[in-house]
Symmetry: D2
Subunit: 137 residues, 4 copies
């Protein structure tokens, strides 16, 4: 995937972060998934007064996409506009993301266009029993 496409996806993640419900952390996050049909599904972090029931932007996007009938995605961008440095997806999100896309899936994340990390799901989630063993669950 070309970098320009990833940057376009990142812009959509930034817009998605505006709908974040994060009164507890004050840390808005947005995520954008590129689907196989070319459409984009976004999500924001939705927190809860019981912190453990908060949901990250990446998982909001995945749950929205899967609930709409999608079963995989081609790329992911994550925007954390209020961070001073790129913040990668949390472990729970890495786990959920790898349920639906292969290790080579491109991922980018950052606070702004000037300071981003470009990687893949496989680099973020090594030792994945599911994909390493060729399962296609």
């Amino acid at each position: 995937m070309e970098k320009s496409q990833m940057m376009e996806l990142f812009e959509k993640a930034k817009v998605a972060s505006k709908n974040s419900y994060s009164p507890y952390s004050k840390f808005p996050v947005g995520a954008a998934l590129l689907m196989e049909d070319g459409s984009v599904v976004t999500g924001a972090n939705i927190e809860n007064r019981s912190f453990g029931l908060s949901n990250c932007a990446e998982r909001s996007a995945v749950f929205t996409a899967l609930s709409a009938g999608y079963r995989t995605f081609k790329a992911l961008a994550i925007a954390t506009p209020k961070a001073d440095y790129p913040v990668g997806p949390c472990g729970a999100c890495r786990q959920v993301l790898t349920e639906f896309a292969p290790a080579g899936t491109p991922v980018c994340f950052g606070a702004s266009e000037d300071n981003m990390v470009f990687t893949t799901l496989g680099e973020l989630y090594p030792y994945d029993s599911l994909h390493e063993l060729g399962s296609d669950t």
Copy 2:
């Protein structure tokens, strides 16, 4: 809210359950939220090979709605087509739902039109420090 409206919402929850990703439980669930502008946002349960990272249909709907900019909802219907009896929302969903709607919000759930429970968020989640104290977070 009239029962006919709740039944209409229930039909949408049933349709939503068709997008369930539940290879581990084989138990599809669909949820439908009625929004203040009259639109409906749906969700399905999206499971994970690490069971603890599974997400219920009710929360899929909430995360989708909030990510789209909504901040509350007016009613909820839950469909569990493969159950033999009405299955209410789990505790995690009750917690997340009450973050965004008042105790009087109507909820219905069931496996089919013939065997349903009609209740409210407040009945499902008593002793809620948030709403009992008049917070409007």
Copy 3:
């Protein structure tokens, strides 16, 4: 169960809250479970920089007790020393607690001895498909 026994359990929950790891919420919680053999298992809330991976005190206690081989408990006390009013268990904890104890199990919670709520698991978690149907899972 006599109130004096519940108050004794509450004292142990208060002590347990001192081991809380809650740098994000600054809201320590402690929980104490009375087991069938008369021993007490305690837990504290253990938070995470990814808020959604935080764990409540009640569930810390349950996971500790079950991991030690217990399969049920007889009573629960929850202490939230920094709250201004009694704060009940969150929905996720109600769900986990009801997996292991019947509806009549006594629960008390509060910030201090002077302002407590005495209730039961069943009152905290109505419409529980599991116990209403007599399952003994």
Copy 4:
């Protein structure tokens, strides 16, 4: 850390898996944490009828250890006796584990002594904003 020490820890993880409560997955897991004072804290996976509220063995061990006052650990072993191949910790556990121990912390996992993976927290959880930035939270 010497391999013999890790194997000793692995034996304790195997024993811990016997207390697993896993009626839904039928997949018992045990975890053992070596603490700085030389003691070992174990945990098992504790599942729930609402799959998303299941807890892994690794997190059971962490929540037990932290609730007991520990704030870090020196090594981790994970046993999955019923697997045909080594199964690494899920993403949620990687996230929780890295809150409390540095990237170099040794981890081993496997189904039996004959087929194990030896790695570190940092290899399991790359791109960790917390530790990459030198935080010692």
